[in-house]
Symmetry: C2
Subunit: 276 residues, 2 copies
């Protein structure tokens, strides 16, 4: 078998479930020639209500599975995993590892004018304070900014149910975000890969003066830069996308269509991650 | 060490998380002298969106852990697990195994006058058709009854968030249950251990003419009968309750208080279930 050059290898993306498809979609739009392997840990979804130790263990198993497939870059397309497991993943892999928190935090620092940034995410992400650390640690004015955070546990089930613009979604958005709006944030980081599905409803409630930061877009830009820097960009071929889940492929396909549209999903297989 | 007699042993209860505490509460009220070991699989919660194969595998691991503790009876206090894994659990254990579906189904058959029974539960429970089978298979008029089912995926996250009587809960109840109400069911089975938390809101929407069946109460009655039949009732001592979770004991304690009240939880430990 011919040995693949590094740049020919696929990008590996994992998420706790379908949420990371928002990141895949942005990568595919920006880098249409790259092969991608996507892994959704649907047997153990969601990660947002679990402890850091458990999220790290699950993330390591996901990474090992993808490494075995021969990837050139690992993307943790899950805010909860990015918040707690990047150091462990970097220690384990010899390839570039990228999360979704740093890119979103940097974009928020660039965008704010009032100096008040809101961050919403799962319980685990908010509790980790990863966004505060990334924003305060950003170059320039980071240290002087005010960061106001709020966990929104019902946004993930609402997005998965497809209730993204109905009255239940509107009222839930109001309850969770009223305080952030009243405090006058001018930038709001959507710190969970599911939240972009609720973007319209969130934007309507927060008002047009507030900029919503979608980590998926920012992460895709970072991936492109990192591939260029490491001379790993793939050019001039048709891309292949393979999907793996740890459970319930039917549900993944169904919910995946909410994220990617009717023809979005490629080949889908099931894998037992507890072996990794 | 003195050998324990069978009746001295504790009852083992498992659930995917905190939901089974509604069953524990009813057992403790009815059988205050029984020792109980409760296991919540919080590392892999929820089960309701997972495949039958995965739910069976997780349930078997839960059962093995409890069997190792020396229990006299196994209670699957989770509708999703009861819907798909009882045959596998009975094959694996030499002790009585009881689920929450049969007791609820029997109570519904006894109660209905119009012959129209509604059943609500998780996606996995509804898809399994376990309630239809249990109702149709019940003695007496079972076969002639009409069963109308509806999965309500947002009820579990709403209950865990403690949003059980607010406007979001009310609107969600209306969207999910309107069809069942319009079709004139006179009995509604709350086919998920979380749903009794939403009982008031559901009752208000369905009207006082509709009887809500809480599997927890019915299951506790069945457990008492089964212990009597097998001469396993424990008498004349103070009961001990031990709690185990596979992840995030802090969150379990916090949400557990919504179910059991401030002083409800006993000793709580964490266990790695993937070893079983």
């Amino acid at each position: 078998m011919e040995k693949k050059s590094e740049s020919d290898k696929p990008i590996g993306i994992f998420d706790s479930g379908v949420g990371g498809l928002t990141v895949l979609k942005e990568i595919a739009a920006r880098l249409p020639e790259e092969d991608i392997i996507y892994l959704g840990d649907t047997a153990r979804v969601p990660y947002g209500i679990k402890s850091p130790e458990t999220v790290i263990k699950f993330s390591q198993q996901n990474a090992r599975f993808l490494l075995e497939k021969g990837i050139k870059m690992l993307v943790a397309a899950c805010n909860t995993s990015s918040a707690v497991s990047l150091p462990a993943l970097r220690e384990e892999t010899g390839i570039p590892v990228i999360g979704v928190i740093e890119p979103g935090a940097r974009a928020a620092v660039r965008s704010t004018k009032t100096g008040k940034i809101g961050v919403i995410g799962t319980e685990a992400t908010i509790k980790s304070m990863a966004y505060e650390k990334a924003i305060k640690g950003a170059r320039g004015q980071g240290a002087k900014l005010e960061v106001i955070t709020k966990s929104c546990p019902l946004f993930v089930p609402l997005a998965e149910e497809g209730w993204i613009e109905n009255p239940v979604a509107e009222m839930t958005v109001e309850i969770y975000l009223k305080d952030l709006r009243d405090k006058g944030v001018d930038t709001l980081v959507l710190g969970c890969t599911h939240y972009p599905l609720l973007k319209n409803t969130i934007q309507r409630f927060m008002g047009n003066g507030v900029l919503l930061i979608d980590s998926a877009e920012e992460t895709a830009k970072d991936i492109e830069s990192l591939l260029k820097e490491n001379d790993l960009l793939l050019k001039g071929k048709l891309s292949i996308k393979n999907f793996y889940v740890s459970d319930n492929p039917e549900r993944f396909s169904k919910v995946g269509r909410v994220f990617l549209g009717e023809n979005g999903l490629g080949r889908l297989s099931t894998v037992d991650l507890s072996r990794y």
